[in-house]
Symmetry: C2
Subunit: 380 residues, 2 copies
């Protein structure tokens, strides 16, 4: 019986994760959750899973949740509450699924425990990949990806000699505007961008998919998760989203992982590895798909992908600036304060103006993150 | 330094295997070869690799080869010579690449040595899969496939829990007549059938690819190599021959191995496993391929695939009958004594008329093999 903590239990990944735990009651026991503001869903989780501790970021909701817990679950509040839960609970696996940069400190605290960390939130890896992988090495924590692309790469690499890895090929659906002319991208509204053709996800990541920034962030994540230099990470547009990603070895063999677009598959894999759990969804039917296509990404219409490579090449704290600038730009787009094509422009200006700190201290990363967001807000 | 014996060194697989050894002189040393009649090529191999022993099936060539060896290579002759070489030579890996059913006894003799057997010749596995896998279990020999499809499956299974295997998906190029109407198949000549769209191979296997019998034999081979019941082995037509085969796991994840159609890749893999050797050919370019397609096989136009499943379902010695009947029918087709559409008809009649022996003694397999060939020759 594996004890699981879910950080970000009320989000899209958190909910899928709860479904996997519910479907495998003899394997997994939910011992702790964190959530931001969705108290209604929190109450349901407490009723269904009775975790030992629940930590809620939003302090004002503390009393309501405490009441709902009927003394069976300890309730903690605020960022400190989340860190306290991580520190005090015994767990085998911590699912890191807090959206955005807010996941950084909880992820670092989780890694200190030296257990398995299932990483669903790519922002901490983007901001502080070097720091996180070094901390994991020190504590003995194992980092297992939940992102479908990185889970695919992990499955392709499984047991193979690292020195024989030639290339990681991340696939991208291309998002809802794969075939939209540049001129028309100007008029893209949040409602249009929130319609992803293949995956149901949260708002931030769906917009990132539409700009290809999501793929850029994944390139940075892959660079740290798999210890591979950026020039060995390639992105291919694959509109069918069936091949979740690939790996090429020195002998030219390419291993690919394919499947249905259901996040429960990589979640179940990260929780059960090296075993695999019975199907959480229907089988892939290649006859239904008929054809799988691959195209080069168009970085003229979608410059965010190039910007991510650029930030990675600059190194140091620049990926943290990129990430924060993107968060701020996407927020502005969702609130109608910026156009779709402004997102890459704002991010580009932020990374050209931001100061570069080459050491990887946490305080510098946090400074860079603040600077990236502020630069975009000033530009707006 | 791994010592290698190649059984069938002058054939298509043997020659590719020699290229891999030549490209990796610090890893591999050729210590023994067998050949059938191609003395010219044998002489070249002796000059270039100086193996300890060469065994030649064709006794009349013995003296010529002995002269060419200049006393540096011992020459043996006949089927007994091949078996004597296998028994007396110390080796790490024996490549079993003798074409057709002639490979059965040498393969069994190789397995007795308890070393790695790289299996390029599927006929022995088809005829005597249960016997061979039992012998390998007893001696501790490891069976590594060289066939590109089985190598792909082996790579996909690598390290995964066997109980989680849901399905093996073998891909088939569909051969040169993938889109040829049934009526037109009547007029197919050997020259037409020998033009394979993707792979350069020997004559027998190229015809088998055109009838889809090759895929049927591969289903039987996979059944034994991977210990999987026939209902878990599916065949998909994939005209691009980029995905060499796939495996589906219980969690619906599908792992696929892709690559260029170059036999040196699976050969190098079988010799170097668990390592991988640097590229023996150019990288796969998915952008060049543009699309990968998958279709169900048409067993009405290509009944040989169904006949293989049927022989496997009947069990016992029936796959040996199927294999021998097919060898005889293909020979007749290549010699102009039978039409292309006669091949499945002859095989079907042979497996309906042959007696079924359910035990797996070698003598019964050899009897069944003789019966299968004779039935076809009588029908002709």
């Amino acid at each position: 019986m594996k004890k699981i903590i879910i950080l970000g239990a009320t989000g899209s990944i958190g909910r899928n994760c709860l479904e996997v735990i519910r479907a495998n009651p003899r394997r997994f026991k939910l011992v702790g959750i964190s959530a931001n503001r969705n108290i209604g869903r929190c109450e349901k989780i407490l009723g269904q899973f009775r975790p030992k501790i629940a930590a809620i970021s939003h302090p004002a909701s503390f009393m309501r949740l405490k009441k709902a817990a009927h003394g069976r679950t300890s309730i903690l509040a605020g960022e400190e509450g989340i860190l306290e839960m991580i520190e005090s609970l015994e767990a085998d696996t911590i699912v890191s699924a807090i959206a955005g940069s807010a996941g950084l400190l909880p992820t670092l605290a989780s890694i200190k425990k030296g257990v398995r960390i299932a990483i669903a939130n790519k922002e901490p890896m983007v901001m502080a990949g070097r720091l996180i992988t070094a901390a994991a090495k020190k504590s003995g924590a194992s980092l297992l990806p939940i992102d479908s692309e990185h889970s695919a790469v992990f499955q392709c690499l499984n047991g193979e000699p690292e020195k024989r890895l030639k290339k990681i090929i991340l696939t991208a659906s291309g998002g809802p505007f794969l075939n939209t002319a540049y001129k028309k991208l100007e008029k893209v509204t949040p409602a249009m961008a929130l319609k992803h053709p293949r995956w149901k996800m949260g708002a931030k990541i769906t917009i990132d998919s539409a700009t290809l920034m999501n793929k850029g962030l994944e390139v940075i994540e892959a660079r740290w998760l798999f210890g591979v230099p950026p020039e060995k990470i390639q992105v291919l547009v694959h509109p069918q989203s069936i091949v979740h990603s690939m790996v090429e070895f020195e002998d030219t063999s390419v291993m690919a992982q394919m499947g249905m677009p259901d996040m429960k598959v990589p979640i179940a894999y990260a929780l059960s590895y090296p075993d695999r759990l019975p199907a959480p969804c229907g089988s892939l039917d290649l006859l239904k798909e008929k054809k799988l296509e691959f195209f080069p990404p168009d970085t003229k219409r979608f410059p965010c992908l190039s910007l991510a490579y650029e930030a990675l090449a600059k190194g140091g704290t620049m990926p943290a600036v990129l990430n924060a600038a993107n968060e701020a730009a996407v927020e502005a787009f969702l609130e109608g304060r910026a156009g779709f094509l402004d997102i890459p422009k704002l991010v580009e200006q932020a990374i050209s103006k931001a100061s570069l700190r080459s050491d990887n201290k946490l305080e510098n990363i946090i400074k860079a993150h603040k600077e990236g967001g502020e630069l975009v807000r000033t530009l707006l």
